[in-house]
Symmetry: C2
Amino acid sequence: MNISDAGARAGLPPKTIRYYEDIGLVTPDRDTNGYRSFSDVDIHNLTFLSRARALGFTIEECRALLALYQDKSRASAEVKKIAEGHLAEIEKKIADLTSMRDTLSHLVHCCHGDDRPDCPILADLGASEKA
Amino acid sequence: MNISDAGARAGLPPKTIRYYEDIGLVTPDRDTNGYRSFSDVDIHNLTFLSRARALGFTIEECRALLALYQDKSRASAEVKKIAEGHLAEIEKKIADLTSMRDTLSHLVHCCHGDDRPDCPILADLGASEKA
DNA sequence: CTTGACCTTCCAGTGACTGGAAGCCCTATC
DNA sequence: GATAGGGCTTCCAGTCACTGGAAGGTCAAG
């Protein structure tokens, strides 16, 4: 199967698949004309990667997960450890963004947003620090 | 004031300040020895940038906000528009991350995490699509 | 006079792609 | 057989907002 079809199956653009090959995540065969030829296993691995990325795992986490996926004697504890670490990072990002949102939402709410220059948003950003 | 002190005041590393000068966000004077010399206004602007960045505004949003900040006849509506746009993006990121967290949290919860290979996390990532 | 902490510039790397150029390959139609 | 189009290949550059490091100038203290 050619790269476009493989991409359609896995839910990834061709460019991304070439990149994944570049960094050694997949190693499709080549046809005699030089075209990449994707086997069912390749598609399966690409789909795995696509889903793991959609869950926000970094490429290096994906690499580790894929290796564990292919190692039929792995310990599930190792997988769980990676997932838990990633989960903690997601939680932290959510907390950070929520804090930003609360602050910004408050400021936006305070700004009347008309053609006058008074603006609590800018006032707050530019304020000297206070206790 | 030299770059390190300016950075300490504004809460930014010297490298970042040099970068901000590179891209035209600040334009500190130079001493005769070539060192950057930061005025109170420079510090103020850097602090403004530091806070806006901490709220997750992009550099280009910061550039726009800083211009509005310095324009004493601006309309607050313009500021509010930028802030609201940014707020919407934050909300979206929070929603995306929350969805990821829920999925991942569920999977982590299902994985017993011992030395056996059975792992619902990998099973899910590798599953053929189902209805 | 030397040491060490600053400062300067410039170049390269980060993560995970993405866009684009230049050129080969394949199929279909005229 | 020529040609048009689409898809494939490689490679280079750009994204965003820095960050690290090298090479070298400057300054205050001892």
